[in-house]
């Protein structure tokens, strides 16, 4: 059905999108502002970007963040995929319901609680807080997102594909690697993208579990903003938005492709 564009339609779309994106657009626009004052426009400039690349503190934080995000997303993808396979395949093991619930609980758990409990754990086992504690914490909370994404794909996966592989001479693990994994791979990748983006964004859990020398970018931005917003921060945020948007778009495209492949099995 193609509805005609009425004034009401147009204005509600405009108002809705403005509500969602105006703040972000403002931030992006002001990152190209010549003036040091954030609220006064003084002409176009990319000087804050070049200054940004000379700010060692922010660059260090960005490097930490990318490494944390990469490692945690990769580990969470492996673990989350395994969890999804276990949940979908072995439907008759004892305690499946409890296990399912436990995998999903972190989805709805307030971040403050996740962060605090992880902090308590690291203190209790006397684990020096720093890069690895943040990474571990990120693995913990992004694992369940990966599991959800992969599980939704596995539910519609025809198990006879794997049986056919075994029938043709594949031992079970090979059958998984040669047939199941390639077929669900788009979902695995979009799970990884999701985990990567979540880790990149996270402020609360990182603040709880980080230690000296492992300041992530969101932490750095937050601490700087408390001293006043500078156009430099706007520039960092613009770059972050670009990365996250790209990640989300790729994940969405992969999901679409996955739906297409799924229809043709």
């Amino acid at each position: 059905m193609t509805a005609r564009w009425s004034w009401f339609n147009i204005s509600s779309v405009v108002v809705g999108f403005a509500f969602l994106y105006l703040p972000i657009v403002l931030l992006i626009v002001y990152s190209f502002n010549e003036s040091r004052l954030v609220t006064v426009w003084a002409g176009f400039s990319t000087k804050w970007y070049s200054e940004l690349f000379q700010n060692q503190g922010i660059l260090d934080a960005a490097w930490v963040t990318v490494r944390v995000a990469f490692i945690s997303a990769s580990v969470a993808t492996v673990l989350g995929t395994l969890a999804a396979v276990a949940l979908v395949r072995y439907t008759r093991f004892r305690g499946r319901t409890v296990f399912t619930g436990m995998v999903y609980a972190p989805l709805v758990m307030p971040e403050v609680i996740t962060g605090l409990s992880l902090l308590l754990l690291f203190v209790a086992i006397n684990f020096a807080r720093g890069f690895w504690t943040v990474t571990l914490a990120h693995i913990t909370f992004s694992l369940c997102f990966v599991a959800v994404v992969v599980q939704s794909r596995l539910v519609s996966f025809d198990k006879s594909l794997e049986e056919a592989a075994m029938d043709l001479g594949c031992p079970p693990f090979q059958a998984f690697m040669k047939v199941t994994l390639p077929v669900i791979f788009p979902a695995v990748i979009s799970g990884w993208m999701l985990a990567f983006t979540l880790s990149l964004d996270d402020l609360v859990i990182a603040s709880f579990t980080s230690g000296p020398g492992a300041t992530t970018l969101p932490m750095k931005i937050y601490s700087q903003v408390r001293l006043g917003v500078t156009p430099e921060i706007n520039a960092v945020c613009t770059i972050l938005i670009a990365i996250v948007t790209t990640g989300v778009l790729i994940a969405a495209l992969l999901q679409k492709r996955r739906a297409f492949l799924g229809n043709n099995e």
Binding site: D158, L161, A164, M166, L261
Partner: protein
């Protein structure tokens, strides 16, 4: 008694006591929780046989196949392939290939890669492998589709790829789970003959699961009709059709009329029964006549009854009734006749002539007649 059927009669290892079975199910039981899918079943299938398992859904036929392929282990009993016990042998080590009902083609691989999958797994050299793939593609007439992905093929083409993939490894035994279930009628009929030719050409043993009785009749050397985890009857298509063991089998294969009655008298080949529809003389199954007074059922196929307006002068059996329904199918006309007792029986008339002056119509009183050998007595 004249022998039943004469098609493909030269091949009958099951009648030869010295023949060794290729597949043997020995007292196999399979339970899923409380549900008994296969109930203490024994079955022998011979080399190069085209064997069908026929039954309604949930009768255990697919479970039987899956046990043979190794996806399920019997709860009790033993399974032998070529004399070797199969217990504990995982699917990838069994010299058996299966064609799946959903075809289970690998969506991320081309047609050629799908067919080559099992060969690669066996470590076959690339040259020999390519040759075999080409040969298989030719066999299923898909040469020009080698590079396509499964989702770019029609249902019939996918079915053929699945078949080529399953036979590419040259298994001695091919098991097929509803191989034609997803095809339309016309394509199914063509494919049935293709499957038969393929089986002959490659000299394979085929074990096929189907719920389509016509399909089983067309292709099989022998059919096992299954009912709730047990085998109701095993026999050649002609035996199953002309001499069913039970009313269940008679009813499952083709259409049949069953009339109840009590035995009045019997000799070594015929039985006379008396029921609400009068006296009927019919053939005896086997050599043991039922005792007088026992309740039995007389089963007769619709096409074995003559329809006439006048009472036939010389007929072993004749029933009078009123035409209740007429269905013209082109090749034949089906007439449902309501007998005096209220029972409705079906008769089929072959339409030999294009034009009939005075076709039998609704509400007419007609006679159905049949010889003493047309129908059979069933004790169950």
């Amino acid at each position: 008694m004249p022998s039943l059927g004469s098609i493909r009669r030269s091949f009958a290892p099951w009648d030869d006591p010295a023949a060794k079975p290729y597949i043997s199910f020995k007292n196999v039981t399979k339970r899923f929780g409380d549900f008994v899918a296969v109930d203490n079943l024994s079955l022998d299938v011979y080399e190069r046989e085209f064997f069908s398992l026929l039954g309604p859904s949930g009768c255990g036929k697919t479970t039987l196949l899956r046990m043979l392929a190794g996806f399920e282990e019997p709860t009790e009993g033993e399974l032998y392939l070529d004399g070797q016990p199969l217990k504990g042998v995982p699917p990838h080590k069994r010299p058996v290939n299966m064609m799946f009902q959903s075809y289970a083609l690998f969506p991320h691989m081309s047609v050629a890669d799908n067919i080559a999958f099992g060969l690669k797994q066996d470590g076959m050299e690339k040259g020999a492998r390519d040759e075999r793939v080409a040969q298989m593609l030719k066999l299923v007439k898909l040469e020009e589709f080698a590079r396509r992905k499964p989702h770019q093929l029609s249902g019939g083409q996918r079915q053929r790829v699945a078949l080529a993939r399953a036979v590419a490894k040259r298994p001695k035994l091919l098991i097929l789970d509803e191989p034609l279930g997803a095809l339309d009628k016309k394509l199914r009929e063509e494919t049935q003959f293709e499957l038969m030719d393929l089986q002959q050409e490659l000299g394979l043993t085929f074990m096929i699961v189907t719920h389509d009785q016509e399909e089983a009749m067309t292709m099989s050397d022998r059919i096992a009709v299954m009912d709730k985890g047990i085998i109701a009857q095993i026999g050649t298509p002609a035996e199953i059709y002309e001499a069913p063991d039970t009313r269940y089998v008679a009813d499952f294969i083709g259409s049949v009329n069953t009339l109840e009655g009590k035995v009045v008298s019997s000799d070594e080949s015929h039985v006379t029964i008396e029921g609400p529809d009068g006296r009927i003389v019919g053939g005896l199954r086997g050599s043991k006549a039922p005792a007088d007074g026992q309740t039995v059922w007389f089963a007769i196929r619709p096409e074995k009854m003559q329809v006439s307006r006048e009472k036939p002068a010389e007929a072993a059996n004749a029933l009078e009734g009123e035409v209740w329904d007429v269905a013209y199918l082109g090749d034949m006309t089906i007439i449902n006749v309501k007998l005096e007792s209220g029972n409705v029986v079906q008769a089929a008339m072959i339409n030999r002539s294009r034009l009939v002056d005075d076709p039998i119509g609704y509400d007419e009183r007609i006679w159905l007649s049949f010889s003493a050998d047309s129908g059979i007595m069933l004790e169950r």
